[in-house]
Amino acid sequence: MAAKAFELKKSERAFDIFLYIFLGIVMIVTLYPFLNVLAISFNDSTDTVRGGITIWPREWTLDNYKRIFSYTGLIQGFKVSVMRTVVGTLLGLISASMLAFTLSRPEFRARKLFSYFLILTMYFSGGMVPAYILMRDLNLIGTFWIYVLPGAVSAFNVFIIRSFMDGLPFALQESAKLDGANDFKIFYKIILPLCKPVLATVTLFLAVGQWNEWFTTYLYNGNKSHLTTLQYELMKVLATTNQGSGMTNSNDLANQMAQVSPESIKMAITIVVTVPILVVYPFLQKYFVSGMTLGAVKA
């Protein structure tokens, strides 16, 4: 008996060691690319060519960052990216929370109909070409609004918020109703303040989605220099030697810059694009974890 318990303990210990080593490797594999890029972005660009930079710069410099911030396309892209993130997130929040509220009211007549109407959008789409034609017919191509209007209502976000609202005590709404408050008042005076955790989750989803989106710019606004986003500018710079995406244009300022010291410039821009999100997400972790769980239970 004792020998068996000992055996068990020994294998448990071995399992623990395996776990720590394995998950430690997973963590290194996840972080290394970011640390590598960060190190190169702070390293002298001529020195970088010698190779061998891992996670610590050999010759510290801020020149790479100074150089990219003197490029107007990047500043312009930054502005548009911030704008679409702010406007798109606000629109998305308003639409999702209002819809969720109405769909969480058991007495609402159109509740079932509207719910199915929304759910269906999660399982099909008209596809890229019909969407393109629609954008053209609505005259949204070449405007800022194409970034924020088409995706303003997201069924997924509506259902995350709704399942949170379903968990709130219904008595609250009833008593407010008896006091003569109308539905809109109940929504923004009583329900909305209670929904902060789930709204934080949805805000993060919307903001990250807006910030990271690049295809709309590529497809519709790539030739409008005042409407390009940061992701698109990064894409242009990366494409200079990746030869990816077939986006090479020799007159491009981004291209010329990349000729000077491609590696360092690319890495610095990558960091600029990535940092805003990386600063935010760890603080919202407990919200989005519960939000994802809610969404999965309902969906």
């Binding site: 068990l8 290394y32 629609l134 809109f184 894409m235 990558t270 694009v273 999100i277 990386l278 997400y281």
Partner: protein, 326 residues
């Protein structure tokens, strides 16, 4: 009249529907009574109609020889010509192969690995290390495919690429591999990149499901002398079966509409024969050269096949496990 008012009040407070005889007047009454609810939902429902349902009308283009300058009435109808052309195009089958291969790989690995990750992570009971691993594992989910594309190219570079450096250092290879110039490697690279990006994120739901498993089951297993590995297979995994099934159905439904972002950002001119997927095919042979009807036929094919796959997966699962999403 009195009954009607009473009826209106009850309908407002509970789910009791109005009696069918007075349905019509009851309906308009409820619209007035619930005017704020309608005001708060109808505009967005119309919005959804415009941006999600109206494109379906665009499917008519697949049966026309669509010319942008003409109105709907003036378009020339060509029946199934676009589909005939699509199904007789060799490129289409190449693209279909790529789509199925990459989404198949993504389905298998993108499904199994997060479950394994969640189960293993769960074994680190509430330690600081566990929380650190978790936070780090979410990180790549929050960066765009543009950034990930850049990182992958950097890591797989011949000079100063982390992967080649490591393989050289371990003496596994004698000279660096040109990863991004080998078409045959592309499917693998896409799959691994996707795993790197999404494993931590996709594990969230499983981790949550695991916390819902009855703790007494583990206690009982311990008494019976089951070690932790046994417990993983006999308690943890069966405990999250429902979650696993539901997510499997959903990912099968998304097989052909698996997206094109990763392929777009990772490909280059050497790799197109292995990297072009249905959406990119629609982009390159539909939009870019303004063959909108042909592109619509591709889009339509993609959408219809994915809905069919979803229904099949849902039906099979309903039969086998009694779990379904619809």
């Amino acid at each position: 009249m009195k009954a009607l008012t009473e009826n209106g009040v009850t309908a407002n407070e509970s789910v009791t529907p109005a009696p069918p005889t007075k349905r019509k007047s009851g309906f308009w009454k409820s619209v007035v009574q619930q005017k704020y609810l309608y005001l708060m939902s109808l505009p967005f429902v119309i919005w959804v109609f415009i941006f999600s349902y109206l494109p379906l009308w665009g499917w008519t283009m697949a049966f026309q020889n669509y010319k942008p300058a003409k109105s709907f009435g003036e378009q020339k109808w060509v029946g199934l010509d676009n589909f005939k052309e699509l199904f007789s195009d060799d490129r289409f089958y190449l693209v279909l192969r790529n789509t199925l291969a990459m989404s198949g790989l993504g389905l298998v690995f993108g499904f199994v690995v997060p479950i394994l990750f969640a189960v293993l992570l769960n074994e680190l009971k509430g330690s600081l290390f566990k929380r650190t691993v978790q936070t780090v594992s979410y990180l790549p989910h929050f960066v765009s495919w543009v950034v990930v594309g850049g990182l992958v190219y950097k890591m797989l570079a011949i000079e100063g690429g982390g992967v080649n450096d490591l393989l050289l250092w371990l003496n596994i290879i004698d000279e660096p591999i040109q990863f991004m110039a080998q078409p045959k490697m592309f499917w693998g690279i896409v799959t691994v990149s996707d795993l790197w990006k999404e494993t931590g994120w996709n594990a969230i739901i499983y981790l949550a499901a695991i916390t819902g498993i009855d703790k007494e089951l583990y206690e009982a297993a311990k008494v019976d002398g089951a070690g932790r590995i046994k417990q993983m297979f006999h308690i943890t995994l069966p405990g999250i079966r429902t979650t696993i099934t539901v997510l499997l159905i959903m990912s099968i439904g998304h097989m052909v509409s698996t997206g094109f972002e990763k392929q777009f950002q990772l490909t280059n001119s050497l790799l197109t024969d292995y990297s072009e997927v249905l959406d990119l095919y629609a982009l390159n042979y539909g939009i870019k050269i303004a063959r909108f009807s042909y592109g619509t036929a591709i889009s339509m094919f993609t959408s219809v096949v994915s809905v069919i796959l979803l229904l099949i997966a849902n039906g099979v699962s309903k039969k086998l496990t009694k779990e379904s999403i619809m």
